[in-house]
């Protein structure tokens, strides 16, 4: 077995494109769910709005890159308002139902035949990333340390991606350690208590939904740009649930929880996957074929999540004392 290959792939995945995208998506979710207690099951919708806002403006309407970025952000804000206005006054579980449906609506709209001219149907959109890569300071070639390396385009995506992660982590840190963040955390605990103290709970929940949604849109930008293409089926509910896994793994309501979670999630996923593939190829494991590795890998993800919730529900960075309070 080629252990070198296994670990190289795993580390590349841990700092790679997927990790960045999921870190951003989960940072958004952390604002919603971790800090405010909003059960948003439609994060994939925000990511899709970001990706398609960018791609549509550039590929379909031929507008400049930055217009695409602004459209994606504005789209996420509008999407948050549309979701929030009817549901944020209701109980938390209604938001969960509506968001999961709304994210699917977004996916089905961009995939529809009627709007194929705008969104490209099931094939999606391409030819919108030149503006982004024209800003790439890395010349053609491979970059890296030892065996771990990326090509120049990936390097550019990763640089922008991790800078964005850092920026949003700082913003989340500042916001959550301020009186504003205190109101959000209080809302997570008991809305009525917060109302009785003169805070407009609806407005704060809306602000949280918008903030987290915009961060989700940035995940969408990177998703689309890193592939130089975007297809509707990338934004299925699966994306949301992976983002939740990432968040819970790292620790909800912790600034770095989503980041650690994303890196570790992808590292482990690829470590196990490559490990199994190698083991099968070298006849270490004989009872499965290479084709079955993918499916088994996802079963292990599920198992891992179950074990995590049983033995460390607070995640890696979480505070055990907080979880203990729930039992009182």
């Amino acid at each position: 077995m080629d252990w070198n290959l296994i670990f190289t792939r795993a580390i590349e995945a841990g700092i790679g494109t997927e990790a960045v995208i999921y870190a951003l998506a989960a940072i958004g979710l952390n604002i919603h769910f971790g800090y405010t207690g909003l059960l948003n099951f439609g994060q994939a919708g925000f990511v899709a709005v970001g990706a398609y806002g960018l791609a549509t403006m550039i590929a379909t309407f031929g507008l400049p890159f930055w217009v695409g970025v602004l459209t994606g952000i504005a789209g996420a804000v509008v999407f948050a308002l549309l979701l929030g206005i009817p549901t944020l006054r209701l109980r938390a579980d209604y938001l969960a139902i509506v968001t999961i449906a709304a994210a699917e609506i977004v996916r089905l709209v961009v995939r529809s035949i009627a709007l194929q001219g705008t969104f490209g149907g099931t094939d999606g959109l391409e030819a919108f990333s030149d503006g982004f890569y024209s800003m790439n300071p890395y010349g053609p070639g491979e970059y890296g340390i030892g065996p771990i390396g990326f090509d120049n385009r990936t390097m550019w995506v990763l640089t922008v991606g991790w800078v964005l992660v850092a920026v949003f982590c700082v913003l989340v840190y500042l916001a959550m350690n301020s009186p504003w963040g205190r109101v959000l955390k209080a809302i997570r605990e008991d809305e009525d208590a917060v109302r009785s103290l003169g805070k407009n709970v609806f407005s704060y929940k809306m602000q949280a939904l918008v903030f987290g949604g915009v961060v989700g849109a940035f995940a969408g930008f990177l998703f689309a740009l890193s592939r130089a293409a975007t297809q509707p089926d990338l934004f299925s509910t699966e994306l949301t649930f992976y983002a939740y896994t990432v968040l819970i793994l790292g620790g909800a309501a912790r600034v770095l929880g989503p980041v650690i979670g994303a890196a570790l999630f992808w590292l482990l996923l690829i470590l196990v996957k490559t490990g199994m593939e190698e083991a099968v190829n070298h006849q270490v494991i004989t009872f499965i074929s290479v084709n079955q590795v993918g499916a088994i890998n996802y079963m292990l993800v599920g198992l891992g999540l179950v074990l995590l919730l049983i033995f460390r529900p607070q995640g890696i960075l979480g505070d055990k004392r907080e979880i203990a309070l729930d039992a009182r």
Binding site: L171, L174, A175, S178, P179, W180, G181, R182, V183, K185, A186, R188, E189, D190, D192, A193, V194, R195, S196, L197, G198, K199, N200, V201, Q207, F211, R321, E322, L325, D326, R328
Partner: protein, 309 residues
């Protein structure tokens, strides 16, 4: 017994009530809260049906009544936590009908809850800080620049610490509120409500679950609120306490105000005793009455036996 020193505010409050009729809905000389025909129904049950009620400014008014009388529901209507089916009420002359809960609080009418709502995963001092109004750092954009709100936050913290000390919670300052005992949570909730700097404090059973020694100091705190010029309206079942601190008592039963008056008058009022104990309460009976009841009971038993046969 120590000599009662009646404070100026207490004397003023009592003077205001001195000449009043002890009738339900009686008008007060300087009401801060005026309630008119507030009705709340749950299906077929009329939980609240208050024709008229006024709360005198600067007084401590007790709202008493048996379980299920509608006191909590009434609080919920007044503070915007529930929507009344009918009626109107004014606070400082301003109608609050249909005003959402957070605005009611901002107007200076703050309530606590019968079932305590401590914010478990916030520390005690964070709970307190949350109560402060007009915080610059509660705006999202300004929250990102600590310089905008640090100064104010320090002032708020200072005020919070003073209150915590008064309520004997200063040792718990940095503990999670969820780790407090039930009685401590009551104290925290009351202290937190005071952070809002309210004009009218509405306490729903503030003493329930608080130990007797602490009750005494809590009573002191409530009286202190009046000294500071606040008005207090509180729900309580402990009659000794009601007698001790209230200037005026309003009695609710089955959703309506059935009696009002000074504590001593009210406790002797037959309508109140009836409401609490039912019409057939165990007041001392004369021999004839006892005889009569015995016969009634016997007749009932006989009737039952006949029915079965």
């Amino acid at each position: 017994m120590h000599a009662e020193t009646v404070s100026e505010k207490k004397a003023a409050a009592l003077a205001a009530f001195a000449t009043l009729e002890t009738e339900p809905g009686v008008a007060k000389p300087d009401p801060i809260l005026v309630v008119d025909k507030v009705v709340r129904r749950f299906g077929g049950l009329t939980a609240v049906n208050v024709d008229h009620m006024e709360v005198q400014r600067g007084s401590i008014t007790a709202l008493i009544g048996p379980n299920g009388a509608g006191k909590t529901t009434f609080f919920n209507q007044l503070t915007g936590f529930d929507t009344a089916d009918e009626g109107d009420w004014t606070f400082n002359g301003r109608s609050l009908r249909g005003v959402p809960a957070h605005r009611v609080a901002r107007h200076g009418m703050v309530r606590t809850f019968q079932l305590t709502k401590a914010l478990s995963k916030l520390t005690v001092v964070e709970n307190m800080r949350l109560g402060a109004q007009n915080q610059r750092g509660e705006n999202f954009f300004r929250s990102l620049i600590p310089g905008f709100w640090r100064g104010q936050e320090d002032e708020i913290t200072e005020r919070a610490e003073e209150l915590l000390e008064r309520f004997k919670l200063d040792a718990k300052r940095d503990d999670f509120a969820g780790s407090l005992s039930g009685g401590q949570r009551k104290l925290l909730e009351m202290a937190r409500a005071l952070m809002v700097s309210p004009e009218l404090v509405m306490l729903d059973e503030p003493m329930a679950g608080v130990n007797p020694a602490l009750t005494q100091s809590l009573l002191g705190h409530v009286k202190a609120l009046r000294e500071e010029g606040m008005t207090v309206l509180f729900v309580e079942h402990d009659m000794d306490m009601v007698r001790d601190i209230s200037d005026w008592v309003i009695v609710m039963a089955q959703g309506s105000v059935i009696a009002e008056g000074p504590p001593d008058t009210i406790m002797a009022d037959h309508r109140v005793i009836d409401a609490y104990l039912g019409a057939h309460h165990d007041a001392p009976m004369s021999v004839e009455e006892a005889e009569e009841q015995l016969q009634e009971a016997e007749a009932e038993i006989e009737a039952e036996i006949e029915e079965k046969a």
